[in-house]
């Protein structure tokens, strides 16, 4: 899977960081960073959680 974030939509709620800290981070620059764009399948559940909990729908997964 490939994780894609639309930074125009990202509103820095940080729920994805809580759901999948291995994949998402808010950096020192105050912007969201995808630490791992192609996480292994073992992280699928956490990434799915990040997708469905994002209040702005900024995260999507491309298979």
């Amino acid at each position: 899977m490939k994780v894609v974030v639309d930074l125009n939509l990202c509103d820095l709620h940080g729920l994805c960081v809580e759901a999948a800290p291995e994949v998402f981070e808010i950096g020192d620059d105050g912007a969201l960073h995808v630490l791992n764009e192609t996480p292994e399948q073992g992280l699928r559940a956490s990434v799915d959680k990040a997708v469905r909990e994002c209040p702005t729908g900024a995260i999507s997964i491309e298979e």
């Binding site: 509103d11 820095l12 709620h13 808010i26 105050g30 469905r52 909990e53 209040p55 729908g57 999507s60």
Partner: protein
């Protein structure tokens, strides 16, 4: 065997429940019933981007890209569920049809309260649904002065949106300081001052005794004898859970559908979102929570437990989270600050209106408010979820 699941409420909670059921492999009949003619849509933009005109209403709908085919839903929109018979497991709809279920998920949400005894008339509006937002936006196009009754987060967001449109705004609040039951007094004062600085006339400690105007509103009369002229009056004094259709069901209703920690109201019947009171392990209580993330979490939780069944269900535990965007400020709040013993600003200041505040109850940190400090919130969310002590929270501050 599970063949049929019915979700009542084409809402965020209802949609996330449906998505979860399919994602977990449920391939039986899945019915979703909604009283509005619309497919599920997102409410947070309604009081902000939609009112301000920067977002078209159709952009507020969920699943614009993915569509609904993959979910294979029997979606029945524009028709209200009128009752449920728990014995024969049947939901009856207003058009005389029905839907039978093996599991039922109730996600009927809440509706905006109106001022008791106030007759409806042109220019007197509430804001809850998409149609409300469109009606209000139309009214604002020809308005010059808006009176907003109730300075909760929705009322204050509407005030900010009306100011963005250049309208004269008066907000009327019964409490001496807005938001004071949920936050600490100094923080409430900061929010009030922010609105005053943006040109909002904030009238506190008064109530509306009458709405003036016959066919159309002309303003409001207040309990102190004064009058405020307005072309549009918006009432934002909270919501009432939509449980009337369950009155004869036998379910326990008390300011919402009363559920256990599994989100279960009765065997095989679950509730989620604004209508539900689910026991939350995090604070050991079962409040009714009207937050966006709560609707997601409980929708998912109800769906998972509906599939898992009694033997394998999990109990609900979540730190409440909400946010509010007003002017150029993002206010984020996690936890529960009611009945807190102490509030400390650990970063930033009231003067800058950019800060992080922690709330203590006993020896625990119970809540965190951040204004334009999204990164800080992530740290404290972790601590709150872990039930961290006040000491630990304060030392986290030192470490940053």
């Amino acid at each position: 065997m599970l063949r049929r699941i019915v979700i009542v409420g084409a809402s965020l909670a209802g949609l996330r429940a449906a998505e979860t059921l399919r994602a977990r492999g449920f391939d039986g009949e899945l019915t979703i019933i909604g009283d509005e003619p619309h497919r599920p849509y997102d409410r947070p933009p309604l009081s902000k981007q939609v009112l301000q005109g920067s977002l078209e209403p159709e952009q507020a709908f969920f699943r614009q890209k993915d569509g609904y085919d993959a979910l294979a839903l029997d979606m029945r929109l524009g028709v209200r569920a009128t009752s449920v018979d728990l014995r024969v497991k049947r939901v009856t709809l207003a058009d005389g049809t029905w839907a039978d279920y093996d599991r039922l998920i109730i996600a009927t949400g809440a509706r905006a309260r109106s001022i008791p005894g106030m007759t409806p008339r042109a220019g007197l509006l509430v804001l809850r649904g998409l149609d409300d937002a469109l009606a209000l936006r139309r009214e604002l196009m020809n308005a010059s002065h808006v009176a907003i009754v109730g300075a909760g987060f929705i009322g204050l967001e509407v005030a900010a949106s009306c100011r963005a449109r250049g309208l004269q705004v008066t907000v009327i609040e019964a409490l001496p300081v807005p938001l004071s039951p949920i936050l600490a007094p100094t923080l409430c004062e900061m929010v009030a001052a922010m609105h005053r600085d943006h040109g909002v006339e904030l009238r506190t400690g008064v109530t509306v005794s009458d709405v003036i105007g016959e066919a159309r509103v002309a303003g409001v009369a207040l309990s102190d004898g004064s009058r405020i002229g307005a072309d549009v009056v918006v009432v934002s004094i909270g919501v009432t859970p939509n449980t009337e259709w369950l009155d004869s069901s036998g379910l326990t209703l008390d300011n919402g559908v009363v559920c256990d920690g599994f989100g279960q109201a009765s065997p095989g019947v679950y509730a989620a979102g604004d209508v539900a009171r689910v026991v939350n392990r995090w604070h050991g209580d079962s409040p009714r929570i009207e937050h966006w993330t709560n609707a997601v979490e409980q929708g998912v939780h109800a769906a998972e437990n509906a599939l898992a069944g009694p033997g394998a269900s999990t109990s609900f535990s979540s730190v409440p989270y909400f946010w509010s965007d007003q002017y150029d400020r993002k206010i984020q709040f996690i936890g529960l600050a009611r009945r807190h013993d102490e509030m400390v600003i650990v970063d930033g200041s009231l003067a800058d209106r950019r800060l992080v505040a922690l709330f203590r109850r006993g020896d625990r940190v119970v809540a965190c408010l951040a204004v334009n400090q999204p990164r800080a919130l992530i740290r404290y969310r972790k601590l709150l979820a872990a039930g961290a002590s006040w000491e630990a929270a304060l030392s986290e501050t030192g470490a940053s």
